[in-house]
């Protein structure tokens, strides 16, 4: 059915249908975010030998985050007097919209993908880069020193780590010869790229942690240094959208890593093919997600200068070298 | 494209470029890893050696047939060799100036950068001369421009230098954007960026609508390149930039950069628009149709350059306007499209290179000593250093176009073309009249040098580099003034530019 629709000429009807489907995904994602926050708290609680939410929210604190959301919704909305009002309002939207947009191109299973773009990977990289604007604008519009500093820091960090990120993924592109995420998955039929591209994977993973501003690279919003950073002045649902964006990115990035390096929906061995792709995808996806949570609870925060220098002096040269190593391997062995 | 294709190219024809490229990379690394205290002059000498080596290889490539590699994007023809030799010669002389540059707020901290940025700009010009494709042409142009922007602002703690660089960036970028916009239409009408293919496509252009579009693109390219040449009315940046930039950079901009500008003008205008038909195949080329526009620019450039130069008090601004005026003279040759156009432009650029670089060498010595750049600083130069004064006198006379110097023969060549073909009498008359106007300011400098008493009678110290430049330029100016055929015959016997364009 979807195939037919895709082949029909685009029009208002298609738009409505896509809209409904997209809305479904949005709700799923929102649900995911709600519970991934809970999961994060729980996981961290267990790792650090303390309890996660257990007082409110029914069994295992399942409704804890639901309550959180409601609280945010009901909070008073304050826009500081000295803030740049239009930008202040715009910033969370700019930060959030791209995070959702990138989901459009990720192939969850063989058939479950919204937009099968030829330049899917490039699309992801390009659109995710836009979030920086939201962060920077938010920091600037607040007219608060902490916010400004946080925004600037966040921007510097994000753009610095974007370079190794895009460079490291070149190895994958070289091997698959395509930017289409589906084709990249197909290309992993004989071996996941995590095996062929270990260096690229490590660089990509580290850079992705920094892009997500998660520990150990959570400087942009280090409470103890910046009083929360670029969103200091935000309250209620406006603040929530910055958070939401982060978690949606977490979702998207986990999915992307699954697709790029872990073979997407494909089974690790041929004989396991009978298990459906969605299951495989979910397993891998949750594993990656778990690693992110794991990292957060075990690592201390890095020093700001180390952080920046790490991107330029370590990751970038390694990524550049990896490109040529891959190219060489490819022309010698493939 | 496999390894075979790679090896099948005759890479030898790119040797000069490779030499420069490798030396750029080496110099960058040397500069980075050399101890801070070490004198960076050695880098300059290495650069000079590279330029010399490139020159020798370029000369040794002369006389061969036209070759092109890399899918016709890089083309080595006589035109390229002839102008590459000029560019390299000019760059070599500027390098000598740079090595001996020791102004008070000098380049000490940035000297290393200076050398390799300078070579990068040179590489850009070389690529421009040899490119057979709009893309490489544009890349070469930008390589030159971007390096020049930085060079102009290399004294980063000097306000004038900053301003000069800023103005250069803004004007340069706008102009290249305009030219690029014009080029995009050319591409659109032909579907290719290869110059020869474009020419072939355009020669059979039929649709009048397309011709109209082509006309617009011609004008845009012309305007964009006129900025680069500092032709009026797009010359406003030149005086400020020349004044603010360090003297060797000014010399580079006014000579090498300008030469490269003319190279690209000829390449694009002649190949692309010389072939474009106005009304179907075989009709009058668009270039001839548009000749008047070039003529207007040429006339305005000569008049504005020479007249505004009259009231300058800063020596570098004066020579900025002077070089604007010279661009005007050269544009006359471009306008006339006479049969000796290449020879006259080439020879004039040679003469201009010699005389202008010599003048900048003197300016560098004098301004370096006094710390300011006023024309009055030259007062009594004859007393302080007769040889320097006489050298400057000869160079100025050559710039003014008096017989017995290369400047005269250059102008003679251009007149010849202007009168020979359809007779651009008005343009030629403007050229002669403005030449007379130019006597005022050239001789104004002479008055300071020879007639006025010196405020300070201390002697100059003449670094080796300056001495070399002065000897080469003065001797060259006179030699080519008296025996111009030594240069012209070299051109004629070893190179056949005409075939590159009309065969």
């Amino acid at each position: 059915m979807i195939q037919d629709m895709l082949q029909s000429s685009p029009g208002m009807g298609n738009f409505v249908i896509f809209f409904i489907l997209g809305l479904v995904l949005l709700l799923i994602v929102l649900g995911f975010v709600t519970f991934s926050i809970l999961a994060e708290r729980k996981v961290m609680g267990y790792i650090q030998l303390r309890h996660g939410p257990n007082q409110v929210g029914g069994r295992w604190g399942l409704l804890q985050t639901v309550a959180d959301v409601l609280k945010l919704l009901l909070k008073e909305d304050i826009i500081p007097k000295l803030a740049d009002r239009p930008l202040f309002i715009l910033a969370p939207i700019i930060a959030f919209a791209p995070s959702f947009m990138v989901l459009a191109t990720i192939p969850f299973t063989e058939n479950f993908q919204f937009a099968d773009l030829n330049v899917g990977l490039l699309y992801y990289v390009a659109i995710s880069g836009m979030t920086v604007f939201g962060v920077l604008l938010g920091g600037w519009a607040s007219n608060n020193k902490y916010s400004l500093l946080g925004g600037a820091r966040a921007t510097a960090q994000m753009i610095s780590y974007e370079i190794p990120l895009v460079m490291s993924v070149l190895g994958v592109i070289l091997l698959s010869g395509s930017l289409n995420l589906n084709e990249i998955v197909e290309a992993q039929k004989n071996g996941w790229f995590i095996l062929l591209q270990p260096i690229g994977f490590i660089v990509f993973f580290i850079a992705s942690v920094a892009e997500l501003s998660r520990t150990p690279f959570d400087l942009p919003e280090s409470e103890s240094e910046l009083v929360a950073g670029y969103h200091t002045e935000y309250t209620g649902f406006r603040w929530a959208f910055f958070m939401l964006a982060e978690y949606v990115y977490l979702f998207a990035m986990s999915a992307l890593i699954t697709v790029l390096f872990l073979g997407g929906w494909m089974a690790p061995f041929g004989f396991l093919d009978f298990i459906p792709g969605s299951v495989w995808f979910s397993i891998k996806f949750f594993f990656v997600l778990f690693v992110y949570l794991w990292l957060r609870s075990t690592f201390p925060r890095m020093r700001a200068d180390k952080l920046m220098e790490f991107a330029w002096k370590v990751l970038l040269p390694i990524a550049l070298g990896n490109i040529f190593l891959t190219a060489l391997i490819k022309s010698l062995f493939f | 494209m496999s390894l075979d294709t790679l090896l099948s190219y005759n890479w030898g024809i790119m040797t000069p470029e490779f030499i420069i490229l490798v030396v750029i990379a080496l110099l960058t690394i040397f500069d980075l890893f050399m101890p801070k205290t070490m004198d960076r002059k050695i880098l300059g000498w290495i650069g000079l050696a590279a330029i010399f080596a490139a020159m020798v290889t370029t000369a040794s490539l002369a006389g061969g047939s036209v070759e092109s590699i890399l899918d016709d994007t890089f083309r080595l023809d006589s035109f390229a060799i002839a102008f590459k030799l000029l560019l390299l010669a000019g760059a070599g002389l500027v390098m000598f100036l740079a090595v001996s540059y020791g102004a008070k707020e000098g380049l000490e901290n940035y000297k290393g950068e200076f050398y390799y940025l300078f070579l990068t700009a040179l590489l850009g010009t070389m690529i421009m001369t040899s490119s057979g494709d709009l893309i490489t042409l544009y890349i070469g142009l930008e390589l030159l421009s971007i390096s020049s922007y930085i060079l102009a602002g290399i004294r980063k703690n000097n306000l004038k230098s900053n301003e000069s660089a800023m103005k250069y960036v803004i004007n340069g970028s706008i102009s290249s954007a305009i030219a690029l916009f014009g080029m995009s239409y050319v591409y659109g009408l032909t579907g290719t960026t290869n110059l020869l293919d474009i020419a072939a496509q355009l020669s059979v252009l039929m649709d009048s609508q397309h011709v109209y579009l082509l006309g617009i693109s011609f004008l845009m390219i012309l305007v964009g390149l006129a900025f680069k040449l500092a032709a009026a009315p797009f010359h406003m940046w030149a005086p400020d930039v020349y004044q603010g930039a360090p003297t060797p950079v000014t010399a580079f901009l006014s000579v090498v950069s300008k030469t490269a500008g003319f190279v690209i003008v000829i390449r694009i205008l002649l190949t692309v628009f010389g072939a474009a038909a106005t009304e179907g195949p075989g009709s009058v080329p668009l270039l001839l149709d548009m000749q008047d526009y070039i003529a207007v620019i040429a006339g305005a450039t000569m008049i504005i350059g020479n007249v505004v130069a009259l009231k300058q008090t800063n020596i570098k601004r004066l020579f900025a306007y002077s070089s604007i005026a010279h661009a005007g003279y050269l544009l006359v040759a471009v306008t006339t499209l006479s049969s000796n156009m290449f020879y006259s432009i080439w020879f004039y650029l040679l003469a201009y290179l010699l005389m202008n670089l010599g003048v900048f060498a003197v300016i560098q010595v004098v301004a370096g000593k006094t710390g300011s750049e006023k024309i009055t600083d030259f007062a009594g130069l004859y007393r302080r250093s007769p040889w320097l004064a006489v050298a400057m006198g000869i160079l100025l006379i050559s710039l003014a176009g008096f017989p017995g110097t290369a400047g005269f023969i250059g102008k003679l060549n251009i007149f010849m073309g202007a009168f020979a073909t359809e007779g651009h009498y008005v343009l030629a008359s403007i050229m002669i009249a403005t030449t007379v106007i130019s006597y005022f300011y050239y001789f104004g400098v002479m008055t300071q040098i020879f007639f006025r008493p010196a405020a300070d009678t201390s002697k100059f110290n003449m670094p080796f580099g300056i001495l070399v430049v002065l000897i080469i330029t003065v001797v060259g100016s006179i030699w080519f003034g008296i025996f111009p055929n030594t240069a012209l015959d070299f051109m004629h016997n070893n190179l056949n530019i005409i075939d590159d364009f009309f065969s």
């Binding site: 685009p10 009901l74 909305d77 947009m101 020193k145 600037a152 460079m167 070149l170 700001a304 | -």
Partner: protein
């Protein structure tokens, strides 16, 4: 025609996602407005500076380092413009492209080394 339709539909989906991404905050904030209290006061509207009275304008000049990193980003990010198509087409281009790209990246690397030695990469 079908390919074209698929192509266009794909981008229509992207557009839908954009709309959703913008609509969600707008709708949520609008709904929130109906629910949440609104009692502004002078103190609430001041800028937060750890409880101290705010002083000076907050929009101070950034440390110059931020700009330098921005410039570095511009340069390196745009260079990937050449790397991506190259990587995609690498199979067809072969060794020739490898060598070309090697030269390109060596130049890029020299740029990085330059910045490194000039202490541009040092934060603070």
């Amino acid at each position: 025609m079908e390919l074209l339709n698929i192509y266009q539909n794909n981008y229509l989906i992207v557009f839908v996602f954009l709309c959703l991404g913008v609509l969600l905050p707008v709708v949520a904030l609008y709904l929130g407005k109906l629910l949440r209290p609104h009692k502004p006061s002078e103190a609430k509207l001041t800028t937060y500076e750890s409880g101290v009275e705010p002083f000076h304008d907050s929009r101070v000049q950034f440390n110059v380092r931020y700009y330098i990193f921005a410039l570095m980003f511009v340069i390196f990010d745009v260079e990937t413009v050449f790397l991506y198509p190259w990587a995609v087409a690498y199979e067809k281009l072969g060794v020739f492209a490898l060598i070309e790209m090697l030269i390109f990246v060596v130049m890029l690397f020299i740029g990085l080394v330059y910045a490194w030695k000039k202490k541009v990469l040092r934060w603070i």
